[in-house]
Amino acid sequence: MALPERKTDIGPPHYKQFIPPVVEKNYGKWKYHEVMTPGTMVHVGESGDKLWTVRVASPRILSTTTIREICDLAEKFCGGYLRFTTRNNVEFLVSDEKNLEPLKKELSAKGYKMGGIGPGITNVVHTQGWVHCHSACTDASGLVKSMMDELYEYFESKRLPNKVRLAVACCVNMCGAVHCSDIAVVAVHTKVPTINHENFKNMCELPTVIGSCPTRAISPDPAQKSVKINPDKCMYCGNCFTVCPPISIKNPERDGIAIVVGGKVNSLRSNPKFSKLVIPYISNEPPRWPKVVAAIKHIVEVYASHARKHERIGEWIERIGWERFFSLTGIDFTFQSIDDFTFMRDTLRTASTFKWS
């Protein structure tokens, strides 16, 4: 069968083709919204029109089978209209109130999970992991599944002082949101890479490899027409490996997971914040990463019982002080939490004012 004629540089289809009539009509003229349940909210236009949204959890990896099933539901209850969120949930866009409850009924019947709206825990921004990335030192989707099974109540029903944004990255490239999340996990290497000098000359560019190292640990090794790595300066980021295949850094027994907390993206109340390192190493334990999951749940619970309403984790910690965060959570404070990278100076304490614990 002959192929249709290819086009180039046409860009994506115009989104207006895909928005329901009620959105078309109230476009840019929304008045307010109400969160009805963690899985349902309604937006009201200045016209008085209403748009109901039912948000459903997604594993992000979707088979065409499931996508078709979702489409069928959208056709049955939403005139075929749906959207995805910036955190990869599915949103059914209901224009006719009559369809709201039936949709929700059928969704639960089919085992779909509704939630993620408001001050709780929504989907986890994450990355490829072993499913698809060469750089992965753990699996992202597996970690997300394990975490969300444990934190599920905060998605579906239980509320928190504010949103808690989670992220997972399978290497320090941190595709996604780890660097600015309330709680995030990043997989790390802990051993100096090894180099296959044979292949180096044909596969790698010397300047690029040297420039790739954040700590200037790499220097030329003219003898071997390759490079050498200073083990005292290397902190195993793997960037040299990213730019040069003959360098390998993976190590099943040593690769591990670090946990960072206190990040934030929006500017409400306080400025956006980076996540900070609190647990430097937990062994990489597929398929369920029990300790990682337990640690995250523990932090969420301490936050839930101590923070003020509307405080994000980072805002709560800045109010009580990091020393208090460590004492409240009982997390060991390690040398890894003391910044020794280029910008350490603005992270060290320059005042005799702090709490004893």
Partner: protein, 409 residues
């Protein structure tokens, strides 16, 4: 079709959260590639090692970006994933779809690929996971002929993304959906044909809530804001209070500029002090509304930690109006790219180059004057550069002052 025994990842089919493993197995039912992907993943879990090779350069004719080449070291053992390339389809603004469009995407994907997708990738693309090199041209012909194009990858403009904005949000300050679509169309060449020194990402959020994480995850962050006062509907305020909201502790005392006051009846805002952080508005959406001129703040440079630590975007243009055809913004973007081009080493993001060359060089290149809104605080050290013109200007000012007898500091 080979049946894999997968005790480890089967564990991930248990529990309430929807399972990606179940999804992979669904696809595996009638797809060789997906089936081998399942076995391949179990192997990773078993050995705690990944087996993908560095991405080779694969793509479609005339494009440099859009496909991530992926090959497994275990091609023999898992032929279905020997080639397992990713196709990045450029999502429509705001991730809106009709079932018809989505089903069409599925049909084509089942024909040429693994039947596995990411809805969506972190940058925003509709990611199709796993196809073979020889399928790429046909696949592209089918998608493009039906109005779908590829997204970005490599050292090019990455697929712009935005929040739902006017599509379903009362707080947006400009048309995020249209801007995102318009810029994507404007810069098709930069998006498909890598010509930059590294990637460049654009994310557009309608307000300071930043629901698309633009300030943390895009080289150019566009964040909606307004210039007028916050209008207050005192009746609605009363309703919030009567519904049990503690307005003092939840709103007034959490205002970062302390510009609100509440006497138990009336809520007041000292608008000139307000930094438009959105806290009060989001908590009392029925009572509070921004007013006046709408537009956005432009920030530059955010990125992940490699090489010298993560960056959040820096304010460069405190306020810009955003209306089609967005000429001013487009000119600015082109000037940014030119300066970046002139100054970057390979694999240097624009934020990293600004750190190297200084904000002045960048701002002068794009024609933006220095403004205190661009900084959190002035420099702490006395190591300043002066151009001859600077000194001349200061001296001229002093000469003027000697005449008038009035100092202009």
């Amino acid at each position: 079709m080979k049946k894999y025994n997968t005790p480890l990842i089967d564990e991930l089919e248990k529990g309430p959260w929807p399972s990606f493993v179940t999804e992979m197995k669904k696809a595996a039912k009638n797809n060789e590639m997906a089936n081998d992907a399942v076995g391949h993943l179990e192997k990773c879990y078993e050995t705690k090692l990944g087996y993908w090779k560095h991405g080779g350069i694969v793509g479609v004719l005339g494009y440099g970006g859009g496909i991530i080449g992926r090959y497994s070291e275990l091609g023999e053992e898992f032929p279905g994933v020997a080639h397992f390339h990713t196709v990045r389809l450029n999502q429509p603004s705001g991730f809106f779809y009709t079932s018809k469009a989505l089903k069409e995407i599925c049909d084509i994907w089942d024909k040429y690929g693994s039947g596995l997708t990411n809805m969506h990738g972190s940058t925003g693309d509709l990611v199709l996971l796993g196809t073979k090199t020889d399928a790429l041209e046909a696949l592209f012909a089918e998608y493009s002929s039906r109005g779908w194009d590829l997204g970005g990858s490599g050292s090019d403009l990455r697929t712009p993304s935005c929040c739902v904005g006017p599509g379903r949000c009362e707080w947006t300050n400009y048309d995020t959906l249209d801007l995102c679509n318009n810029l994507t169309q404007e810069f098709q060449d930069e998006l498909h044909r890598p010509m930059f020194s590294y990637k460049f990402k654009i994310k557009a959020a309608g307000c300071a809530c930043d629901c698309v994480a633009s300030i943390a995850r895009s080289d150019l962050s566009i964040i909606g804001t307004w210039k007028g006062d916050i209008q207050i509907d005192q009746d609605e305020v009363k309703k919030y209070a009567s519904k049990g909201m503690d307005i003092m502790s939840e709103i007034v005392s959490m205002c970062p500029t302390q510009c609100m006051s509440y006497d138990g009846k009336e809520l007041k805002i000292e608008n000139s002090e307000c930094s438009r952080c959105m806290h009060c508005i989001t908590r009392m959406t029925k009572a509070l509304r921004p007013s006046g001129e709408r537009g956005a703040t432009l920030c530059i440079g955010s990125k992940a930690p490699i090489v010298v630590g993560s960056l959040l975007s820096w304010v460069i243009v405190p306020f810009i109006k955003l209306e089609p055809p967005y000429t001013e913004l487009k000119d600015l973007i082109r000037k940014m790219w030119d300066w970046w081009d002139d100054n970057a080493k390979p694999r240097e993001r624009i934020g990293e180059v600004i750190e190297m060359k200084g904000m002045r060089s960048f701002l002068e290149a794009i024609g933006v004057p220095p403004q205190p809104q661009q900084i959190r605080e002035p420099r702490k050290d006395p190591f300043m550069f002066y151009t001859e013109e600077d000194i001349a200007a200061y001296k001229a000012k002093e000469a003027e002052e000697k005449k008038t007898g009035v100092y202009k500091f």
